[in-house]
């Protein structure tokens, strides 16, 4: 293990380390802690110039105000409506394509694979005008369906890369012996491979949930009204309305950040397994 385990160092260093950990954490999260504290300050505190001290009382009413006086609840609902179908769609598509690319040898296999990989890295702006145009022409502009469809298509690039590498790591003999038994290819996929993919499904779902929830660019390009905008785009327009009301901006930010944060803490193992796939092999 590197660096040297702290238990094996001199006692003063051990103490130093144990002090340094929380100090470093507080410094690292300082901007976030500041915002969390601001979100609980009554507006009178801010008006009186109390920016850094603790709130004079805990104003949970800021959170109520955010929900009562802004469409944030509907923004959040929209985010769920975009995110959940995208997770299902992109994961389903990539199970199929990842399976095809991992299990079969055919001439254009690598070509198709790297089409997905390369597409996943392109700048969004090169897609922006045509995708917006396509969405307008199909009547899906400013709808949740239009936004979700694009996300499904785009995310299938990353998801296919992920699934293909995961299936590659499964024992291939299982598939071989099923073929010898005469099991059809679809049954092999459905009854043999799919059940083994559960960890990958979980990891990918959590990751895609976070990516899509946090998407801002496509939300501003493909949706325009409060009825359809997800919370990232919504927060941007609310920020314009709440000029200088930092207690509201802070509370709104925290509300918007909550779902992926909860997802992360509940599914941490899967999340990190997904994110770091490939960081160890080789």
């Amino acid at each position: 293990m590197f660096p040297k385990p702290i238990e094996k160092t001199a006692p003063p260093i051990q103490v130093l380390y144990k002090v340094a950990l929380p100090v470093a954490l507080v410094l690292w999260l300082l901007p976030l802690l500041g915002v969390a504290m601001t979100s609980l300050k009554p507006s009178s505190d801010l008006a009186a110039g109390n920016y850094f001290g603790p709130p004079s009382y805990l104003a949970f009413s800021n959170y109520l105000d955010v929900f009562r006086n802004s469409p944030i609840a509907s923004y959040i609902l929209n985010s769920f409506k975009v995110t959940i179908p995208t997770v299902i769609g992109a994961v389903a598509l990539s199970c199929l394509s990842g399976f095809a690319l991992a299990v079969y040898r055919f001439r254009s296999n690598l070509l198709v694979f790297f089409m997905f990989v390369a597409g996943n890295f392109v700048p969004f702006q090169i897609l922006m005008v045509p995708v917006r145009d396509l969405t307008v022409q199909t009547g899906l502009y400013n709808t949740i369906t239009g936004l979700a469809l694009f996300h499904i298509a785009f995310q299938s690039g990353f998801c296919t890369l992920f699934m293909r590498n995961f299936i590659r790591g499964l024992p291939f003999e299982l598939i071989e012996s099923a073929r010898v038994e005469g099991v059809s290819e679809f049954k092999i996929f459905w009854y043999i491979v799919l059940p083994l993919m559960r960890p990958a499904l979980a990891a990918l779902s959590v990751l895609i949930f976070t990516f899509i929830w946090n998407d801002y660019f496509w939300a501003t390009v493909l949706t325009t009204s409060a009825e359809t905008q997800p919370v990232t785009a919504g927060l941007y327009s609310l920020n314009g309305q709440w000029i200088a009301q930092w207690q509201l901006v802070s509370a709104g930010s925290i509300v918007a950040a909550m779902p992926p944060v909860l997802m992360f803490f509940l599914m941490q193992r899967h999340f990190i397994a997904g994110l770091t796939l490939g960081a160890t092999k080789g």
Binding site: L96, G119, Q125, L127, L235, T280, G282
Partner: protein
């Protein structure tokens, strides 16, 4: 239906079935791939081609398109705003790379087994989970003149506070710092996973040979972390060139366009209140795409080599 017709049709289905049987292994991959490829072609590959084609037109997004050849590109190369954006993109790219070593050092700091370390690791990772919109708002508050924490810190150190986001000398650095926060967290988690898999035997062997500290890190640990480093570099380069959210949230490109990057400038030209210049926007996007393709081809080249090697 006569008996012979029934027999013939039965034969036909058995021929059919055996055709499927015989070619199942050839056809199955394409059936599995069809939906994914169709969606990807429609929403990713085709738009790339169409954007390139659009960059030769003058188009407001609604009316008729007018072919103007290379005129958009000619205008672009005389456009000061384009050079500002390009310069900022390079700044992003260079400074963003700091996330890789910074992530490694935090990972080394946290790679211990003291009580509660798992919670520390997740809390350090926290910024990555939050949307960039929220990160942007958090840092706007952090930098805010007169009451932001950072403003006060600078005031306390130097005597006068700096309104980072309103000053064209510092604004891009301020936004990049905000972007580094989640990016460092991302690199850190990649390296923590990588460190888990560093071979203890090699470390022991190197210790016996008298290696320690920096030499150990550089000659023994870092080479073993190569897969993690590769991914960290890829995601950091892509992240730097894709920077859009933070610029849009924190400054909207200002003051006076000094914090624009290509992705933001493209959006501004194509879709904002300044007018719908789709063709010109497409030309900017093509330039950004060309820059990114240099990196993407490099990454793909390495991945192809790895594929064929193992």
């Amino acid at each position: 239906m006569t008996d012979s017709a029934i027999a013939a049709s039965a034969e036909a289905t058995s021929v059919n079935r055996s055709y499927w049987r015989r070619n199942q292994r050839k056809l199955a991959p394409w059936l599995f791939l069809a939906p994914g490829i169709a969606m990807f072609l429609l929403y990713v590959i085709y738009p790339i081609v169409e954007s390139m084609w659009l960059s030769f037109y003058d188009w407001d997004g609604l009316g008729a398109k007018a072919w103007i050849g290379l005129e958009n590109y000619r205008e672009l190369f005389d456009d000061d705003a384009f050079y500002t954006s390009l310069k900022n993109n390079i700044l992003w790219l260079v400074l963003y790379m700091l996330a890789v070593p910074a992530g490694l050092f935090i990972a080394l700091f946290l790679n211990q087994t003291v009580r509660g370390i798992r919670i520390y690791k997740s809390l350090f990772f926290f910024p990555f989970v939050i949307s960039q919109v929220v990160v942007g708002l958090i840092f706007s508050w952090f930098y805010a003149p007169n009451f932001g924490l950072f403003y006060h810190l600078i005031e306390w150190l130097t005597g006068t506070g700096v309104a980072v986001l309103a000053d064209d000398r510092y604004v891009t650095y301020g936004i990049i710092a905000a972007g580094l926060w989640p990016q460092i967290a991302y690199c850190m988690i990649l390296y923590l996973t990588g460190l888990n898999n560093v071979s203890p035997d090699q470390i022991e062997a190197a210790r016996l040979d008298g290696a320690k500290g920096w030499r150990m890190l550089w000659f023994v640990i870092v080479p073993q972390l190569r897969p993690a480093t590769f991914i960290a570099v890829v995601v950091t380069v892509i992240g730097a060139l894709r920077s859009f959210d933070l610029v849009s949230i924190m400054t909207d490109g200002g003051p006076y366009g000094s914090s624009r990057v290509l992705s933001f400038y493209m959006y501004e030209q194509a879709l904002s209140e300044y007018g719908y210049r789709m063709g010109y926007g497409a030309a900017i996007a093509v330039v950004l795409f060309a820059i990114m393709m240099v990196f993407i081809s490099g990454f793909i080249w390495k991945m192809v080599r790895d594929e064929q090697g193992g």
